[in-house]
């Protein structure tokens, strides 16, 4: 079901510089689990677009399949949206972007949608430097199909049914850096202070802007890694009536100062180490970004912030020499060479 928000709004709501209230950037009411990190990211997108004074109809929101890919319904109702097929958001966005280079393309994907089924399309969108914002709402599991590990689940982490993940995690940020992505960032859904400006920066970036957002799944990642824990016992009780059990939890909120690491307790009681990039960090140095990322990994920290940006980025249209006018505005006049020309072409086939 799609729930529609009431349209009545207080007339005195503040407006941005193009005359839109923040409510003009909202979408339908979310049907995700209460406390889902993805809703916080949707909120950050609304906030960023409002603050950026984006004309809603000049943005297209495109997604694949999964919990994360449902979110475009929950923001920017006045934008066209496209919930495509699993793992194929990048190609649909590529085509859309080729047709009209003037819109902002906001691609939303998940860890299953990007790191597994859509890995091929993800890496190729990176290498083409397609002008888009690519947000991965990364919760390490498949929510809609009841919590299977995804390819970004960390080695050794315990799933809700109790199995220990034996496979190495795919680090999308490290991968994007390796593939010479021109804008690479990571954030946490609970950290709007960091996320909102990051999305704004990404929308401004000419080229592929990648944001990996760690976004906890309150329903299927809500277990501690031990068979002796309270959660473990509770899970087994739950097994008899597991289908409709959704734990009500508050969204996780965290704020911390630049250059400091922070410890964030997750819904399930486990802990994430967060470390922001220090103020003296040079985000335009890919090598240092890679090194710093590796160091953080060894220390068991999750590095967030804008990791790398290429200020010289040339997006796909510039590389291809496409005309400045959106291709979808061209008519017969510009497109059809006419019969006289065709008769000359015929002559070359005689």
């Amino acid at each position: 079901m799609t729930y529609v928000r009431p349209t009545f709004r207080h007339p005195g709501l503040p407006k941005n510089k193009i005359g839109y209230a923040k409510s003009d950037y909202e979408g339908s009411i979310s049907t995700l689990c209460a406390g889902c990190g993805h809703d916080s990211i949707s909120g950050a997108i609304v906030q960023a677009c409002y603050e950026m004074s984006v004309e809603p109809h000049k943005l297209a929101k495109i997604s694949g399949i999964g919990c994360s890919s449902k979110t475009p319904t929950y923001f920017l109702s006045n934008s066209h949206g496209f919930n495509s097929v699993h793992g194929r958001m990048p190609s649909v966005t590529t085509g859309a972007n080729m047709a009209n280079r003037d819109l902002i393309y906001l691609g939303v994907s998940g860890d299953g949608d990007t790191a597994s089924i859509g890995m091929g399309q993800f890496v190729h969108a990176v290498r083409r430097n397609l002008n888009m914002v690519y947000i991965v709402m990364n919760n390490g599991c498949y929510g809609l199909t009841k919590g299977q590990d995804s390819a970004t689940a960390d080695f050794g982490s315990r799933s809700k049914p109790g199995s220990v993940n034996q496979f190495q995690a795919i680090d999308l940020v490290g991968m994007a850096l390796e593939l010479n992505a021109t804008f690479v960032a990571r954030s946490f859904s609970g950290d709007k202070t960091q996320l909102v400006p990051m999305i704004k920066a990404a929308m401004s970036h000419p080229g592929f802007a990648f944001i990996d957002v760690i976004s906890p799944c309150v329903t299927f990642n809500n277990n501690v890694g031990s068979t002796k824990s309270y959660d473990y016992v509770r899970d087994h009780i739950e097994a008899t009536s597991e289908l409709d059990f959704v734990p009500e939890k508050d969204e996780i909120q965290v704020e911390y100062e630049e250059g400091k690491s922070a410890t964030v307790p997750l819904h399930d009681g486990s802990v994430i180490e967060l470390r922001k990039l220090s103020p003296e960090w040079n985000p335009t140095d890919r090598y240092s970004a890679v090194m710093r990322l590796q160091k953080a990994k060894i220390k068991g920290e999750i590095l967030t912030g804008l990791l790398y940006i290429d200020p010289e980025s040339k997006e796909l249209h510039d590389l291809m020499g496409t005309t400045d006018v959106p291709l979808n505005t061209l008519t017969e006049k510009e497109l059809c060479p006419g019969n006289e020309k065709l008769q000359q072409i015929n002559q070359s086939f005689r």
């Binding site: 004309e55 297209a60 495509s84 190609s91 649909v92 005309t323 979808n328 497109l335």
Partner: protein, 604 residues
């Protein structure tokens, strides 16, 4: 002079990667320019260099362009395949070969003529570099054939001059090689042979063109701006030709920038995703592939069908299943294309049979896709796509306007009371869409592959779902009035027996009908040009008791589609099948029909 004039099949046996294609094309073109219909076929390996490759040309002044079995002249320049090549010559035919090294006497047949031309030896006399010796050897055999078959040398020379217009230095050595071959043949053999050519005026204003190149031009004239594609034989040359022509025809005159975007995708899935994204966003876009690509694209094709997004796809079929015979022709993807994707889906298909029709139908595909907001697939094949065909010249009506279908503009949105993306406003099953970026506050909607209501809102209501999918089916009915109509080959029905064919089978089918006619047998005939089938197709099937369905696959897929779509009694549809990877011949059709008749004890 006696013997067969302007009615022969000549096959060139070459090694691939040795530059023979250019010489062989020169041969075909020279006969074309003598006013005689030709029909060349490449029979090539899935390989870059070093394996046997053949080029077969049927010369026929009556204009029959289908393949004919039985080789009158074989030009053998590949020792690897000598045995096979020799065996393939008709009794009384000729084996023209490079006699630089002698043939094994044991291998020689007594019922064919041997014409040895020391091609490499002559070439080595003129050229020092090995690669040049190789290349000019090809021109030497063209020269020898000019003498043996009586081809006008001036015509060949003109072709050489045109070909090297920008590299005039290459003209004299080509002439030298050509004349050397010619002179050797004249001096050593009774020229011309018992089969030969003679100038006619049977070409009119026709052109020689590959189906794939015609398809590419159709896309350009129809205003396609975005192409997403992945290389696969035999479709690759569509996008390559699109690129070549569009670069000449579509640069912005002021800025020199491209009024097009071609993206080589990472796979066929992405290629189709790009097309869907681009057309969703209001551009005309297309992709081209072959059977394996259609398999990969199927998920996306279903999305486009259900979410109602225009898509233009060309399937240049090749031998299947799996990787199959990637360089041989077949019509094996009819069912997988017509019903591509899971769930209840069916797609508009167009079946061209000539390059001229590739051009026209490709342009029609874009109008149909926009009009019906659905995938439209042009189903071609390797024979049509990758061989040059004698075809009518291409023509474009400058008064033609693109039919972009039902799209609301910003002004429309201001006027209408409410917008529902999937409201059947006109009661024809086709709804109004909006393009992203059109209006600041009206007309936005959420495109999805899930079930949804008339306002594009997700729904799991069974009633709404049934209403929506039935409305989509209504488009199928409406489309029957828009798709290309079948071609009938008689004013009124003459017989209770008929034949149905489509695509490249047409050449052989027409020839078979004429041959039957000579035997006093008349068959009614219909060439189907599209799916869905319209009233004419239904009528033809209803009015005939036995209908031979001629197609090029093992399982009679076209017949199955007819049965599926029209509830036809299968007993009256007789399978006439050819699926060895070579284009069907008139003789095959006749033999199979006669055999079926015997089995069925049907009397003419």
């Amino acid at each position: 002079m006696s013997g067969k004039v302007n009615d022969l099949v000549i096959r060139f046996a070459n090694v691939n990667g040795t530059g023979s294609a250019s010489a062989n094309n020169m041969f075909s073109k020279s006969i074309f320019r003598m006013g005689i219909p030709v029909s060349p076929k490449n029979i090539f390996p899935s390989n870059i260099q070093g394996l046997p490759t053949w080029y077969e040309v049927r010369v026929n002044e009556d204009g029959y362009l289908g393949r004919r079995a039985g080789i009158d002249v074989l030009v053998g320049v590949n020792p690897q395949s000598f045995d096979q090549d020799m065996a393939s010559v008709e009794p009384g035919g000729y084996f023209v070969y490079d006699s630089t090294k002698p043939l094994y006497e044991d291998a020689m047949r007594e019922d064919i003529h041997y014409v040895g031309i020391p091609m490499m030896q002559i070439s080595m006399g003129f050229f020092e570099v090995a690669r040049l010796q190789q290349l000019f050897k090809n021109i030497i055999y063209v020269g020898a054939l000019a003498a043996l078959l009586d081809i006008e040398m001036d015509v060949i020379k003109k072709i050489i001059e045109e070909q090297f217009e920008k590299k005039p230095k290459l003209v004299p050595p080509n002439f030298q090689a050509l004349e050397a071959g010619y002179n050797y043949a004249i001096q050593n053999y009774d020229c011309p042979l018992n089969v030969r050519v003679e100038r006619r005026d049977n070409i009119g204003d026709k052109i020689l063109l590959e189906g794939n190149e015609a398809t590419a031009l159709g896309a350009i004239y129809a205003g396609a701006t975005v192409a997403g594609w992945y290389p696969i034989t035999p479709s690759t040359s569509i996008v390559k030709a699109f690129e070549t022509h569009v670069k000449k025809l579509r640069k912005d005159p002021e800025t020199g920038k491209n009024n097009f975007a071609i993206v080589q995708a990472e796979d066929e899935l992405a290629a189709m995703g790009m097309v869907i994204g681009a057309t969703w966003n209001g551009a005309r876009a297309f992709t081209a592939t072959s059977g394996p690509g259609v398999s990969l694209m199927s998920e996306f094709i279903g999305l486009a069908y259900f979410a109602e997004i225009p898509v233009v796809l060309v399937n240049v079929q090749r031998g299947g299943p799996s990787t199959g015979m990637p360089t041989r022709t077949q019509q094996p993807d009819l069912i997988s294309t017509a019903y591509a994707s899971h769930g209840d889906t069916k797609h508009i298909l167009l079946f061209p049979s000539t390059p001229k029709e590739c051009f026209e139908m490709m342009a029609d595909c874009f109008d149909l896709a926009d009009r019906f907001q659905t995938p439209v697939i042009m189903v071609s094949d390797l024979d049509l796509g990758m061989n040059i065909h004698l075809t009518d010249p291409l023509d474009w009506d400058d008064a033609r306007e693109y039919d972009r279908g039902k799209v609301y503009t910003a002004e429309d949105l201001d006027e209408i009371k409410e917008f529902g993306r999937y409201l059947d406003v006109d009661d024809d099953g086709v709804c109004y869409r909006t393009i992203p970026g059109t209006h600041p506050t009206k007309g936005s909607f959420f495109t999805r592959g899930t079930s949804r209501d008339e306002y594009a809102r997700y729904t799991e209501s069974g009633d709404v779902y049934v209403r929506v999918v039935n409305r989509i089916l209504k488009k199928w009915e409406t489309a029957k009035q828009y798709v290309p109509t079948p071609e009938l080959y008689q004013e009124s029905y003459q017989s209770k027996k008929g034949i149905i064919f489509f695509g490249t089978t047409t050449y052989a089918a027409i020839e078979a009908m004429d041959l039957f006619k000579q035997d006093g047998v008349s068959l009614d005939a219909m060439r189907i040009r599209s799916l869905p089938f319209n009233k004419t197709v239904e009528d033809f099937i209803e009015k005939h008791d036995e209908i031979f369905i001629i197609e090029q696959n093992r399982d009679a897929q076209f017949r199955s589609i007819i049965i599926n779509e029209l509830d036809t009694n299968p007993a009256k549809l007789i399978k006439i099948l050819n699926f060895d990877g070579m284009p069907i011949t008139a003789k095959t059709i006749m033999d199979l029909i006669m055999k079926s008749i015997k089995v069925l004890s049907v009397e003419f």
